[in-house]
């Protein structure tokens, strides 16, 4: 066997192993969580005193914080990416923005959470809340958004830009009318992926958004997400069936992520087909 063959089989084996472990964990989670996963579980608030109850506020908090963070960072990241890929790229490569982005990407999320805590909570006196948590997610997400957007823009063939410029379009027109429509499918894919990634974040949110939900929902109130709730129930879990509640919440979170990825994938495919 040549080396390529060996590597191929090795990769296959690793993938298979990972799949088996994942399936094992998944069946375990399903077995434990499915009995809890009722309509009532999804639509009521947790029972603070006796443990158990539902996860409705956690679902809302996850959607609001993750969605909010994406809504703010996606356009910002795209603007930075457009500047870098469509303008600055012509003058010189690399530069300060790239270095900041690369460094930022490698900072652990707890550290980002801690920094946001120091700035927003300690200096600005923001409460532990959905807003603060959303800010932490946004701070964490912006370099991802820039990276995702740059790679989407770079995948637009240069020939489109030349064709547009040769027809008398300005650079701005070219970006708006050709590059962005052509990059949209990739962008949607990237946004979906970022959304899924943010939904699983917990460390930074424990510090910034708190580990409980308030009776009166507000963006300035504490906002525990699904991921944080799993962590909370697992570590502090009171009540008879903490394990079941955690598993059911994990299932919900996985479904949320799966639906997000599926939807964004479909949307991206639909955009892709529109051009071909």
């Amino acid at each position: 066997m040549n080396q390529g063959r060996v590597l191929h089989w090795f990769a296959l084996l690793v993938a298979l192993g990972a799949a088996i472990v994942f399936l094992g964990l998944l069946t375990d989670t399903i077995r434990e969580g499915l009995p809890h996963l009722t309509w009532q579980f999804l639509t009521t608030a947790p029972d603070e005193r006796r443990g158990g109850g539902g996860i409705a506020p956690e679902i809302v908090n996850t959607v609001v914080m993750v969605g909010g963070a994406l809504l703010v960072t996606a356009p910002l990241g795209l603007v930075v990416a457009i500047y870098q890929a469509e303008w600055q790229g012509r003058v010189h490569d690399g530069g300060v923005i790239d270095q900041v982005r690369a460094t930022w990407l490698s900072v652990p999320s707890v550290v980002v959470g801690f920094i946001v805590y120091r700035v927003a909570v300690a200096w600005w006196h923001w409460p532990l809340s959905l807003a603060t948590g959303g800010l932490a997610l946004a701070v964490m997400n912006w370099p991802v958004m820039v990276t995702v957007s740059i790679s989407a823009l770079k995948r637009v063939p240069h020939a489109y830009r030349e064709a547009s410029l040769a027809l008398g379009a300005t650079r701005f027109d070219t970006v708006r009318r050709v590059v962005l429509p052509a990059a949209l499918a990739e962008l949607i894919d990237g946004w979906g992926w970022a959304l899924a990634r943010l939904a699983g974040e917990s460390a930074a949110l424990i510090i910034t958004a708190g580990i409980n939900v308030s009776a009166h929902w507000s963006v300035w109130g504490p906002g525990e997400t699904l991921a944080v709730y799993i962590w909370y129930v697992r570590t502090e879990g009171v009540g008879a069936d903490a394990g079941g509640v955690a598993a059911a919440t994990a299932l919900t979170l996985m479904m949320f992520i799966a639906v997000t990825l599926w939807l964004s994938g479909r949307l991206a495919d639909w955009r892709r087909r529109a051009g071909h």
Partner: protein, 252 residues
């Protein structure tokens, strides 16, 4: 009447390398001028200097003058957008946008503010007819342009360029990526456009240059070696380098 386009001591360099040296060449209004020469001799760069597209390349530097009619296109008063409307360009690999056929052709007019649906339809139909593509795509204008064959895509690109009513057409090896039948269609199309547009066409296909052009210019290593009537260049080149190139390629 299609205008002349004329360069005077045109020199282009990328960063520090000079790739075109002191080119003085004129395409007469309505003629087809073919540019031939070995790979890397600067033909594409020359074309891209004629619509200032070369300026979009980082590090490119242009000196000398280029006149479209009476206007020096490198003077600071020139509106590049308007210049590129007047000087259309078609590239080696067909590059339609990933939009519908209609939206591809309507792209240029829309840029210039045409938004009336009936007028856009008229422009699109006229341009597709002029590019000899109308009969193949009528009734399918909403289809994605990328579903067309390579040859059709290239004619679509020509239609897209014609839609803004240019006066000069720059064709950079427009058939290099096409099969013989599509190539023949494009050549026929170029012959039909001759007279209405001033056409400057780069080609590696010497027979093609012989078939469609009025005059031929031979470039070598960034310099213009000679230019003359196509028949004269092919039968009695004055410069030995031209002869070498023609015989080397023609009768190997």
């Amino acid at each position: 009447m299609a205008p002349n386009i004329r360069t005077e001591s045109l020199t282009v360099s990328y960063r520090r390398t000079v790739v075109l040296r002191q080119i003085s060449l004129e395409a007469v209004g309505g003629e087809v001028l073919a540019l031939i020469g070995p790979s890397g001799c600067g033909k594409s760069t020359f074309l891209r200097a004629l619509n200032r597209l070369v300026e979009e390349t980082p590090g490119a530097h242009v000196t000398g003058r280029v006149f479209l009619g009476e206007m020096n296109i490198y003077s600071s008063a020139v509106d590049v957008t308007e210049l590129r409307r007047r000087v259309g360009m078609v590239f080696q690999a067909p590059n339609p946008f990933p939009f519908s056929i209609f939206d591809n052709v309507a792209y240029g007019p829309r840029l210039r503010g045409v938004s009336d649906a009936a007028e856009l339809r008229r422009i699109v139909e006229r341009s597709l007819q002029e590019a000899a593509l109308w009969d193949e795509v009528r009734g399918k204008l909403r289809r994605p342009a990328l579903t067309l064959s390579g040859g059709q895509q290239q004619r679509l690109c020509i239609a897209r360029a014609l839609a803004v009513r240019p006066e000069v057409l720059l064709l950079d090896e427009p058939t290099a990526a096409l099969d013989p039948v599509s190539t023949e269609k494009i050549e026929e199309l170029v012959s039909n456009l001759r007279g209405r547009y001033t056409i400057v066409m780069v080609t590696h296909n010497l027979r093609q240059a012989a078939r469609v052009s009025d005059r031929t210019a031979f470039f070598d290593d960034g310099s213009l070696v000679e230019v003359g009537l196509t028949r004269q260049i092919f039968t009695a080149p004055r410069d030995p380098r031209t002869e070498q190139y023609l015989t080397g390629r023609y009768f190997p």
